[in-house]
């Protein structure tokens, strides 16, 4: 294949941009400073297209496409922020806020939470769906970390980082639908997990206060993700 064929040019929100053919719409948007909201995607981890916040409109199809997994195509025309998309994104975020118990004022991640930041950014002032108020558990059995299912949005970043980067695959999802839950090992207490290496990567990729370090008080939990691009880069070099 000729080298020229590897580069695609497309339009995102009316702006002409270029991209390598293996890049996704989200990659290109990010490079060009175009903001597309997302919660499940994280650079350095595989993509799952699960949160549905990064849906964009592409001219020529009436389906909305997730920007995080949709590859660029020549002459594609992408709209990232139409009135319709904004409406859907707000609804999806609201659904997330109603699903479990997201009470920012008593959350370790208050002020550093991706869900909270996004809700503010999308001007969510109230939620117009009824809250669910589930009785979710907190597992503090691990020496250094806590999992609080009340704050979990099931983005599965923890599952992916543990499997793909750390290679331990301690985390996984059990149950289905509204009852789905991230679990350690075969739903044993985290502290009793035989596979967990205690690396803490899951804690730092978690977008909310669902995973946190022990000893952090309200609003104190800062997530440090520098390791992820660094590790990914190192591994790519070695390959």
């Amino acid at each position: 294949m000729s080298r020229a064929a590897n580069i695609k040019t497309l339009k995102i929100d009316g702006r002409d941009v270029s991209a390598r053919q293996e890049e996704t719409i989200l990659d290109v948007a990010r490079q060009n400073g175009i903001f597309i909201p997302r919660l499940c995607e994280l650079s350095g981890l595989s993509t799952v297209g699960a949160c549905r916040l990064c849906l964009v409109e592409v001219k020529g199809t009436n389906r909305l496409l997730p920007a995080c997994v949709t590859r660029v195509e020549e002459s594609m025309e992408v709209t990232t922020n139409s009135e319709r998309l904004q409406r859907y994104r707000k609804s999806i975020l609201e659904l997330l806020l109603t699903e479990r118990n997201h009470i920012c004022s008593v959350c370790v991640s208050n002020g550093h939470c991706e869900l909270q930041t996004l809700a503010q950014k999308l001007d969510i002032t109230h939620v117009h769906f009824p809250y669910r108020y589930p009785k979710a558990a907190v597992d503090a059995s691990h020496d250094r970390f806590v999992v609080d299912h009340n704050r979990c949005i099931l983005c599965t970043r923890c599952v992916r980082v543990c499997d793909e980067i750390e290679g331990a695959h301690t985390w996984d999802v059990m149950g289905r639908g509204i009852d789905a839950l991230v679990i350690t090992d075969l739903n044993q207490p985290w502290g009793a997990s035989e596979t967990c290496t205690g690396c803490g990567k899951c804690v730092h990729v978690c977008p909310t206060g669902a995973l946190s370090e022990k000893g952090r008080s309200v609003a104190e939990m800062l997530k440090r993700r520098q390791f992820l691009p660094y590790l990914t880069l190192m591994r790519e070099d070695r390959e």
Partner: protein, 547 residues
């Protein structure tokens, strides 16, 4: 296996059958087995042995004869069909072979239920012994495979399928020929063929019946598909809730392997194909092709965004052809009779026949195969025999939890992919539930939403939380305590789920609600504004959850 050897097996089987002057067929598919057809067959066997007429009279267990509601069904070589037969009737049934028919058991076969059907997929159901490969071969079985392997190129096979106009019978109606040609053109180190037998719609049992009644037909269809697309390995993903289908498939695969119709160098050509079974563990979403593939790979059965489509990157990242049981079952007759023959049946855009599981408020419930384009009225009143107890028809539900409810103004609409979609429903895999005036459409919508909520895999947010919220709203409405605001929310969620969910389950989950909101708006209104359920179903004690 050469064509001559196959013909020999067929011939000797036919000879063997000719020796019997009388034949008694007893349905041993799950429907009739559940109403004690096995003791009946045992009683018939015993009676034949006692009378010492085993030489001339054959008692054979066969697949589904269709009228499941009247089981156990028995048919004799004199053309009589008996319904609701019991072991005590064995003697009389045998007497009737040479004398008067047993009038109190007779099930008339000249009624529209049988006369209006056109059997292609079900041509062998109720005729051959599903556990005997020779019986299938005697009924022209594996002849299409031999023809394909010895006389046709893969391209010619795909051409015939394309000409036939066959469309995916799993529900979406994707052109089968196009799918095959895509997979055949895809590049991979290995290709796979998967048969989707994870039939999960409530009230649907077409695939189960086909697998229980004629498993070899599906295997032959898969073999032909594998030859056409260049695959060497196949999987049948069948749900574990179908133990009899699994047992018969296992038997069928073993028999086909023994005759060299599965395995290496099939029919002395260089074509290799083997089939493995994979059992689904009871997740509806695993009928979605990407979730099914994940499940076969041993992963959690959740869907992933497409593209890439399985035709390009499927099982283990290789090009994969996934078709439904009924689609594969259509393949051998298409090859035997030619694509043009098949294309003459049905309508312009929906060719051929479709198997439906007719259920609900009709006289005759069971399995039927009809040409595409038949009207819903014919389905309900001719084949179904109308609504029992003098009740009024209200709606027919097609497509299961992904489909919609069609009211009486659609009764004269032809049953094909396009018409159903226009009317706000889908063809689906073939479940057809008829409802009369005693059903409340809000309650029906709630039932299907409950199904979608519990079957949602939980991967994407709109489906996971949206189905929960929709179910909650419908629950409020059926408790007669909803406000007009709740109705507006419900409509908003319908739109959200349809447009933003990851896979077909979430995208189509609102369909039962959307279609009932459209056709039965006044019923929703009565619940919300007047606090009344016109059908008298909702608000009663049975809907009240204990506090």
């Amino acid at each position: 296996m050469t064509p001559e050897e196959l013909e020999q097996i067929a011939e000797s089987e036919r000879e063997a059958q000719k020796r019997f002057t009388h034949r008694v067929h007893v349905c041993v598919a799950a429907g009739c087995l559940s109403c004690q057809s096995q003791p009946l067959k045992d009683a018939l066997d015993k009676e034949v042995a006692q009378r010492g007429i085993g030489e001339r009279c054959q008692v054979k267990g066969v697949g589904c004869m269709g009228l499941c509601a009247e089981g156990p069904l028995v048919s004799t070589s004199r053309g009589t069909m008996y319904k609701r037969a019991t072991p005590a009737d064995a003697g009389e049934i045998l007497d009737s072979l040479e004398g008067q028919e047993v009038s109190r058991l007779v099930c008339p076969t000249d009624v529209p239920f049988f006369a209006r059907q056109k059997k292609i997929v079900l041509e062998n159901s109720g005729v051959i012994d599903p556990e005997k490969i020779e019986d299938y071969i005697a009924a022209d079985g594996y002849r299409a495979l031999i023809r394909v392997l010895t006389e046709m190129t893969p391209l010619e096979v795909i051409d015939q399928i394309t000409k036939s106009g066959l469309r995916g019978r799993g529900g979406a109606g994707y052109p089968t020929g196009l799918k095959w040609s895509t997979v055949s053109k895809s590049v991979g180190t290995k290709k796979y063929v998967i048969c989707n037998a994870d039939e999960g719609d409530p009230g649907a049992f077409m695939d189960r019946s086909v697998l229980e009644s004629d498993p070899h037909r599906v295997i032959e269809g898969m073999l032909i598909a594998a030859y056409a697309v260049g695959a060497s390995e196949g999987y049948i993903y069948v749900r574990a809730e179908y133990p009899l289908a699994i047992k018969r498939l296992k038997t069928a695969i073993r028999q086909a392997e023994r005759l060299g119709l599965l395995g290496s160098d099939i029919c002395s050509t260089r074509f290799n194909f083997r089939i493995d079974l994979r059992l689904g563990a009871g997740a509806f979403v695993c009928g979605e092709e990407t979730a099914l593939i994940a499940s076969v790979e041993g992963k959690r059965g959740t869907p992933r965004p497409r593209p890439p489509y399985p035709a390009m990157e499927g099982l283990f990242g290789e090009p994969t052809l996934i078709n439904n049981v009924e689609t594969f079952a259509n393949v051998p007759p298409i090859i035997r009779n030619g694509g043009e023959w098949y294309a003459r049946i049905g309508t312009e855009k929906s060719r051929g026949t479709k198997v439906f599981a007719l259920a609900g408020r009709v006289q005759n419930t069971g399995l039927v195969e009809v040409p595409m384009g038949i009207t819903l009225r014919e389905m309900v009143y001719d084949i179904g025999g109308g609504i029992p107890d003098g009740k009024e028809f209200k709606a027919v539900q097609t497509g299961g939890p992904s489909g919609g409810c069609l009211p009486s103004e659609f009764l004269d609409m032809p049953v094909d992919y396009e018409s159903l979609a226009r009317a706000g429903s889908i063809m689906g895999s073939g479940g057809m539930i008829v409802m009369d005036e005693s059903s409340c459409m809000v309650d029906v919508a709630k039932y299907f939403m409950d199904f979608c909520m519990t079957e949602s895999c939980g991967k994407c947010v709109p489906c996971r939380v949206g189905t929960y919220q929709m179910h909650r709203l419908l629950d409020t409405i059926t408790k007669l305590s909803a406000t007009p605001k709740d109705l507006a929310l419900l409509e908003e969620l319908c739109d959200l789920l349809k447009n933003t969910s990851l896979c077909g389950l979430g995208q189509s989950a609102p369909n039962p609600v959307v279609s009932t909101l459209r056709s039965f708006a006044e019923e929703y209104k009565a619940h919300v504004e007047d606090g009344k359920c016109p059908a008298g179903v909702c608000g009663s004690a049975k809907n009240e959850e204990p506090a």
